[in-house]
Symmetry: C2
Subunit: 734 residues, 2 copies
């Protein structure tokens, strides 16, 4: 809803990475930086011209697409895109019925005609152009106040976007690299007709479930296939039977060679956010305050949602994706905190900051800018921390209650509609409304009033216990108005009123609200909308402070960056920001603790070993039979002597990287990145070369499952692979 501080790219060097190779491994590089790394890449075995990797309109980078939150890549001339199973899971859920559980059983469209629409709002974004707009964004900003600086930058970005976008799915955005040193205008083709083509059963795609999530050794076949459709004119179009498969300019070929330990791999995709270039003080606040609170709040909400579904399968299904999301991030935050504490990452950050100071010691002007920037960044940090608990709870009220979250978004939309389009907050402009509506429809799948109420109750009680300086005044007023005696009784009375009166749970009502002006919306006297409206001034005040902070950061962090770039001779990857990146690594295991080593490849024997018949370790019978029979066909690895399943590399990923294509030295698809490892969860902050790994599914396991287990020969042929098991599968194993 607002630009959060974390949404910025803060640039500091990779504290623990010293050798050039390690430095190349640690970064999520911009494609245009590849020539900088040409020597390292050639030494690591790259068989493609590094300059080729810089060209976004050419092979292979042009084949790499974003799904908005996940990455994917085209693997056929007819718009077939491969991504992770967990990136198509919402589509499987959306298309499931009580009779036909695609989530459990998987889905395979026997013909192109049987490919089914993904869930509303599904998108494929193909990057088609990028242009440096630093000069246009920053012109004449010297001496401008921070809030005004924010507003001016935002307005210029909007103008650039408005001038860039075109009907037929041409979408544009302005992104910033190196914490505001550079701005870039990116043009993407937005494909709105996305269909589900194939996903293996949950016993493959989510084998190991939450137990194995973030863990090695891993045996998950985390892949799934979508197809992009466009209008007959080749332009982006709403879903329609008359649409045709999109024909990408370029698509990936499958690897032709086996993948072995030590082999070079490139992970290409759209990683979301990293915070490697925060100041040490900011990192300390994250470690000591924000992460522990985030863990605590997630634990509470998770327990509430699990409790709610314990006796009621329908409720459990409603809450499944929220639980999955909470659990996933809970594990991530716990692991990150553990990594921070065990790995001494904060200390590493502090050492790094001292190194920067030492490097700048000879240049009085640069040194002074650096120190002034650091001091001012710290003042902003302290101001944010002063109301941290209140501000966090304001957010958690929305997270805990999807109904209140919908109410808040709808109220805000109605507010914004009162402004000229160009003045509206990003996310609430006319251009955003189709996505807004898709999200509004999708929300229906998770609305469950009893769980909603239980979650909201927990955070309302926490809010009622906030210290004096951090009260949520409008909430206090609503609680007092109930007339009840104790905070508990007040909260329960408020909740009674909210859930008895709100009609936000009804999709048709929300769709009408979505189009209503503010006065009409308020005239409904929906108590959930009323609560959202009451809280709005506080949200607005927080947002105003954050915009001012943003303005200050956009002014201060580049000062910091200049020193850093000088220190590293310009050879530094900017923090991830949702744009297309290349991470470089090699297939390699690691030592998780004294006395043991994780080897870098798992095999089908491990699937059989882990299969217990109890969730989450239930492999499909047909897979087990083929595995036990040693039916590996051409997909076996000659060195392993068996079928590979997953592998580790020293490349780095973060949220958003899911589904990233993993390319071999020839630029061919040899796997899909789908997870990071538990020991290196702090990697969003600091890369630890000896521990940071990416977990990939091996392309040979994917092909074997498609061929031998699921009979997806049609897709293999489309990708240029000759099926080896057509007869066996037709004969119909269990």
């Amino acid at each position: 809803m607002t630009r959060r501080v974390h949404a910025l790219a803060f640039v500091l060097p990779l504290a623990l990475a010293t050798a050039p190779a390690a430095r190349a491994e640690g970064g999520m590089w911009l494609p245009r930086q590849m020539p900088l790394l040409a020597d390292e890449l050639r030494a690591a075995g790259l068989q493609v011209d590094p300059a080729k990797l810089s060209d976004l309109l050419s092979h292979p980078m042009n084949a790499i697409v974003s799904l908005g939150g996940c990455s994917a890549s085209f693997v056929s001339p007819d718009g077939l895109a491969v991504t992770n199973h967990h990136c198509v899971v919402s589509h499987l859920q959306y298309n499931s019925t009580p009779e036909r559980n695609l989530l459990t059983d998987g889905f395979l469209a026997a013909t192109q005609g049987e490919e089914i629409l993904a869930s509303p709002g599904a998108r494929v974004f193909v990057t088609t152009a990028v242009r440096d707009v630093t000069g246009e964004v920053l012109a004449g900003l010297d001496g401008v106040g921070d809030r005004q600086r924010h507003d001016l930058v935002e307005r210029r970005e909007k103008e650039l976007i408005a001038a860039c976008e075109e009907p037929g799915g041409v979408r544009c955005k302005v992104v910033s690299y190196f914490a505001g040193l550079e701005y870039e205008l990116q043009t993407q083709m937005e494909i709105r007709d996305v269909r589900l083509v194939y996903a293996p059963a949950a016993g493959v795609g989510n084998f190991g479930g939450e137990v194995d999530n973030w863990m090695w050794p891993r045996h998950t076949g985390d892949f799934g296939f979508l197809r992009a459709y466009v209008g007959p004119d080749g332009k982006g179009a709403d879903p329609s039977p008359g649409n045709v498969p999109y024909r990408p300019r370029h698509y990936l070929r499958l690897a032709e060679e086996d993948l072995d330990p030590g082999d070079l791999v490139l992970v290409v995709g759209y990683p979301g956010r990293t915070f490697r270039h925060q100041t040490a003080a900011e990192t300390r606040a994250d470690q000591e305050l924000r992460m522990p609170a985030g863990i605590r709040h997630r634990e509470s909400l998770l327990a509430i949602l699990e409790q709610a579904g314990a006796g009621d399968r329908a409720v459990a299904i409603k809450n499944a994706s929220r639980i999955r999301g909470l659990a996933n991030y809970l594990k991530k935050y716990r692991g990150t905190l553990e990594g921070f504490q065990r790995g001494g990452l904060l200390a590493a950050r502090e050492v790094e900051e001292r190194r920067v100071r030492a490097a700048l010691a000879g240049d009085a002007a640069a040194s002074a800018s650096f120190e002034a920037a650091l001091a001012e960044l710290d003042r902003h940090l302290q101001r944010d921390l002063a109301t941290r608990e209140r501000d966090e709870l304001l957010e958690w009220l929305l997270v805990s209650s999807p109904l209140l979250s919908e109410a808040t978004r709808l109220h805000r939309l109605a507010l914004e509609r009162g402004e000229p389009d160009a003045e509206r907050e990003p996310g609430f402009q006319e251009r955003d409304l189709p996505l807004f509506e898709g999200r509004l429809r999708r929300a229906q799948a998770v609305l469950e009033p009893a769980s909603d109420r239980a979650g909201l109750r927990h955070f309302l009680l926490l809010a009622a216990a906030l210290p004096a300086g951090q009260r949520i005044a409008p909430l206090d007023a609503q609680l007092r108005a109930t007339g009840a005696a104790t905070p508990e009784a007040q909260v329960d009375a408020l909740l009674d009123r909210l859930y008895a009166g709100t009609r936000l749970g009804d999709l048709e009502t929300r769709l009408v609200m979505f189009r209503e002006p503010l006065d009409a919306l308020l005239a409904r006297h929906d108590p959930m909308i009323q609560l959202a409206a009451a809280l709005w001034p506080l949200h607005e005040a927080v947002e105003a402070r954050e915009k001012e902070t943003w303005g200050a950061h956009s002014r201060l962090r580049p000062e910091y960056m200049r020193g850093l770039l000088r220190l590293h001779g310009g050879k530094l990857a900017p923090d991830a920001n949702g744009t297309l990146r290349i991470s470089i690594g090699q297939v390699e295991g690691y030592v998780p603790r004294d006395g043991m080593r994780y080897t870098p490849q798992t095999t089908i024997a491990g699937v059989v070993e882990k299969h217990t018949g109890e969730q989450p370790f239930v492999a499909p019978a047909r897979l087990l039979a083929a595995a036990r029979g040693g039916e590996h066909g051409p997909y076996a690895d000659p060195n392993l002597g068996t079928l590979p399943v997953d592998f580790l590399s020293t490349a780095v990923v973060t949220n958003g990287s899911s589904g990233s294509a993993t390319l071999d030295a020839h630029g061919r698809l040899c796997g899909l990145a789908f997870d990071g490892n538990y020991e290196a969860m702090g990697t969003d902050y600091v890369v630890m070369p000896e521990l940071t790994r990416t977990i990939h599914v091996d392309f040979r396991y994917m092909l074997w499952v498609m061929d031998r287990v699921d009979g997806a020969g049609r897709l293999l042929v489309e990708m240029g692979v000759e099926p080896a098991f057509a007869e066996e599968v037709a004969a119909g194993a269990p």
Copy 2:
């Protein structure tokens, strides 16, 4: 109390071991078999004449002693013996006071004069002679009935023992190898004055506790030191201030070279029992019936004892050693069962049996003997299984209630006293009474009536629910006699009477009972003695059947053995039976599951890593400081670049092996065996060369802890090691 079926050595070949090296690794060999393996040993790097290892009266075998349940070895000319920490833990417990917890803090006698008596009944047994007595034991037994065969063998063994033993600690026993093919008379010197010299803190000796028990990677410093004392005449004597240190004929020297992966090691000690040579049908009964029941009963009793101590620290302390024992065996049985199921050990057993049959196919007579023996063994098995549940509960009544167990033993002793000494059951003869009394005194430490009652209650209720054909009639009578209506009420009424009336919890009373004839004992009308007396006829009947079974086994198993020995050309290690053995292996890791490898050495970094400050991971502050400071002195391993802690080898151990000396290729002490690994718990039944490992503490860790952490320089000097840290430790680190 009786010869249990498992107490025999049943001989079948090592099913999964095929290569000669693997075969040598899997066995617990008799010292006299070493020349058979001379080629393998030399190829593996042995620098000592293999024939030397056969001489029990020479170095190094003469230095290897038994503690009765643990192994140890002399490491100085003054009777200093090293064993595992967990083998001296009862002595630490016995000598602890509320003011001075030796268990937690460890113990170091600053001078020889300050060495303290171990707990009553502590013994050191030095093997001084062995003589083959097969002819004397088996003469004229052909055609004799099974029960009579048992009694005759038992009488001859007693006669041999009586003729062999002498005052001054000369103790003898007859043991059987290869399931009754061979009998041997062993002479041991029994040392009765055993003193506690040194044990590190629990944070070293039991670091990792139950969590790490059976587990790799391991970081336990499982070592402790005792000293053997004898009378001034050099003969075994009761503990007395006038005694002097025993001067062993031979003692071990410490290794002079570093130990590396691949190095040969010999584990020498007194392994208790293995069952590798049971029939497949017997193994099936163990897997499907006995082990699951043993696990269930242990789980129940463990939960009861833990519950009893949950709110009461004094009770928790009383129950600690019982809990530890139950938990240890529970983990072992669970792991064994898991190993059986995962490793397909039963199938391996069945394959092995078929191989034996195939090998005998050409010899009609041998084949017929083999088949007849198998069939008759199976009939005995089926007879035992018919009352298995009842017989198991009879045992568990005693295990669950140490008071009832004491009552049963005292009642039996009084019964046996009515017989001439030579006719008494082994364990109840005059020669056994000092040990009997020691055990009776030691029992005091674990007698806790409330826990006793809670445990007994559980098993009485199970007994009350036994099926019709397996009722415990005398118990039924006692329960009916309470007049209560339901089984629960009956059990509770019986328990009320038992615990209100018994005086068995009083040590002085038990000591008087210990000397009482039967009529005097019964005239006490102690209800616990009465229950024991009531149950006695059933115990006696079970024992009679077991003796008959024993007689049959002693007749049948050798038939089986002959074929096996022919198949293996006589190169076969007999099952362990508590006698001195040599297990051969090399330092080597393993692959516990797909995608990971356990490396064979752990280091001090792992101790620091595991230390959480919460039990069982609390390393002493002084150790942590020295570890963090990298103060490894001469004990660091040049290849590892740091201090080694524990290591894995392919040697095999079982209960009783604890404390076994680990010798390097020069026959010098390079470690102590202290555990097996979880994945290979089925190793008592079948050795799996790729998984079966022994866990050892590295001698360099032991020396470093002694030198740098505990300041045990006196003992280092006694062992011929120059302390490196005398000054630092004197200066007194934390």
